[in-house]
């Protein structure tokens, strides 16, 4: 995952209408859309709701000039655990249903059920919509802007400072991680090389991780000392300037937010 860090940050610094939107607007819309999709019951109408949200996503991704390949690569990185659960669904009788129709009869008493298959389909639609909103958010908003946006929306200052430092040092450790991987590769070490004794592979990784922990801890100490030298102390606080939303931000929020709230309600009531 850490290998993606630089690519995501680079992507977020590109320029487009979506990139230029205030981070608060994108945060609010993302959270609202995810809550709306997650809250919608697992009923056939969900296809229509998901379709509406996917259409919105296509428009926003189009406006953000995000390459389809970039989106698909990021989606592929996120899918595995969710995909495993979704695929496994079809083999079990889902508790939401009382009657089941066998779609495919497999050996050893295993069967694919029609109702569970439909549930898996609905679950995968919800999952893809939610994940796509996150990809759009992080792909069009630099991490620092996201943090400042969250702070302006009420994230406690204490937490903003801590999270800001974590984000800042992510990049330091991502570079360190690359260097370590290069060093291991130079020594022809691979954790998956079966020619090497398993115990040796595990101890090498353990010492590497131990060293990494130590370097992180010592980096933390150095950072803390540096901060003290620069006036940081118990009474220090983070100050984020007030920033009113621009008219474009208000317009986008005013157009998309009602859609996110009203569209699923209308579909549900119809």
């Amino acid at each position: 995952m850490i290998e993606e860090l630089f690519a995501i940050e680079e992507e977020s610094y590109r320029d487009s209408i979506v990139h230029r939107l205030d981070a608060r607007v994108k945060l609010i819309l993302t959270i609202a859309a995810i809550i709306a999709v997650v809250s919608y019951p697992f009923e056939p109408d969900l296809y229509l709701v998901s379709g509406g949200f996917l259409l919105l996503l296509i428009i926003l991704f189009g406006l953000s000039k995000t390459a389809v390949k970039t989106y698909l690569i990021r989606l592929a990185m996120i899918l595995p655990f969710g995909f495993f659960i979704i695929v496994a669904q079809i083999f079990f009788k889902n508790p939401r249903y009382t009657e089941f129709t066998v779609l495919i009869d497999l050996p050893f008493g295993i069967a694919v059920y029609q109702e569970s298959f439909l549930f898996a389909l609905m679950l995968s639609l919800k999952f893809i919509v939610c994940v796509s909103f996150i990809i759009l958010l992080s792909g069009t908003t630099p991490m620092q802007d996201l943090l400042e946006g969250a702070a302006r929306l009420g994230l406690p200052a204490e937490f903003t400072l801590v999270l800001g430092m974590t984000i800042r040092y992510l990049f330091v450790f991502a570079i360190m991680y690359r260097h370590i991987q290069n060093a291991l590769a130079t020594r022809c070490f691979s954790a998956y090389n079966r020619a090497l004794p398993y115990r040796y592979r595990i101890s090498t990784i353990a010492y590497t991780i131990g060293t990494f922990f130590l370097r992180s801890f010592e980096q933390g100490e150095r950072t803390y000392m540096s901060m003290l030298c620069r006036g940081y102390g118990r009474s220090s606080y983070i100050y984020i300037t007030k920033k009113p939303l621009a008219s474009t931000d208000r317009l986008v929020l005013g157009m998309i937010m009602p859609f996110i709230i009203i569209f699923p309600i209308i579909i549900y009531l119809l």
Binding site: L123, S138, L146, E158, M165, I205, G210, G220, E221
Partner: protein, 213 residues
């Protein structure tokens, strides 16, 4: 083990968020009291390191791989389960918001699984085993295994409560896979603690309660 959005009803996600927020509040309180408020940034930097540590692939066997969760490692080395809650909350927020690994509505559940359950099981089982055996590395390895295994079982129970996965197959699948990953996590945790105690003996205060010398 990261539960994504949509895999849990919104109200259940809300309940887990409330429980997680209570532990986050307690973790912040711990940080203020035990680390002194000034030192909180140090843990923030360490969290970034733990995020990177989670990127190392561990060969589990049978063609599969896993990665370290690190809750037990952090709790043992920093001497408190709240350290794990603090660090893993930061890591999970970044994973959820930036990378889409785990969800926003399910983040409370993920913090509860990996930070709270992992941290508390890791710390207190280490503490109990160390009291009984006086063996640092064996205790750390078993504690890390338990933290990984029980967190996975808790995840399976949450998925069952959410109606997303049946209980018994979930417990068997998650339990078996994480029992294997847990062995590697235990070995790595013990090895990392060994290296740290050699390099920085002052860590033994937290690990054993006495000076290494």
């Amino acid at each position: 083990m990261h539960i994504p959005d949509a895999f849990m009803p919104i109200w259940q996600g809300g309940i887990y968020w409330i429980i997680a927020l209570i532990f986050i509040f307690l973790a912040l309180k711990w940080a203020r009291n035990e680390l002194t408020e000034d030192k909180i940034p140090m843990v923030a930097v360490l969290s970034a390191g733990i995020f990177a540590i989670q990127a190392f692939n561990l060969p589990v066997g049978f063609g599969t791989s896993g990665h370290l969760v690190g809750g037990a490692l952090v709790a043992i080395l920093l001497g408190s389960p709240y350290a794990a809650v603090f660090v893993l909350t930061l890591v999970l927020i970044i994973q959820g918001v930036i990378f889409g690994d785990g969800g926003l509505t399910t983040m409370g559940a993920n913090i509860l699984n990996m930070g709270v359950i992992g941290g508390f099981i890791g710390y207190y089982s280490y503490w109990g085993l160390h009291q009984a055996t006086k063996k640092v590395y064996l205790s750390a390895a078993i504690a890390a295994w338990l933290a990984c295994f029980i967190s996975a079982l808790a995840c399976a129970v949450m998925m069952w409560l959410a109606g997303t996965f049946p209980l018994v197959p979930g417990l068997v699948a998650m339990g078996t896979y994480h029992a294997l990953i847990g062995i590697v996590e235990g070995a790595i945790t013990a090895g990392a603690i060994y290296l740290l105690l050699q390099a920085r003996p002052e860590f033994s205060d937290a690990v054993t309660g006495v000076n290494a010398a």
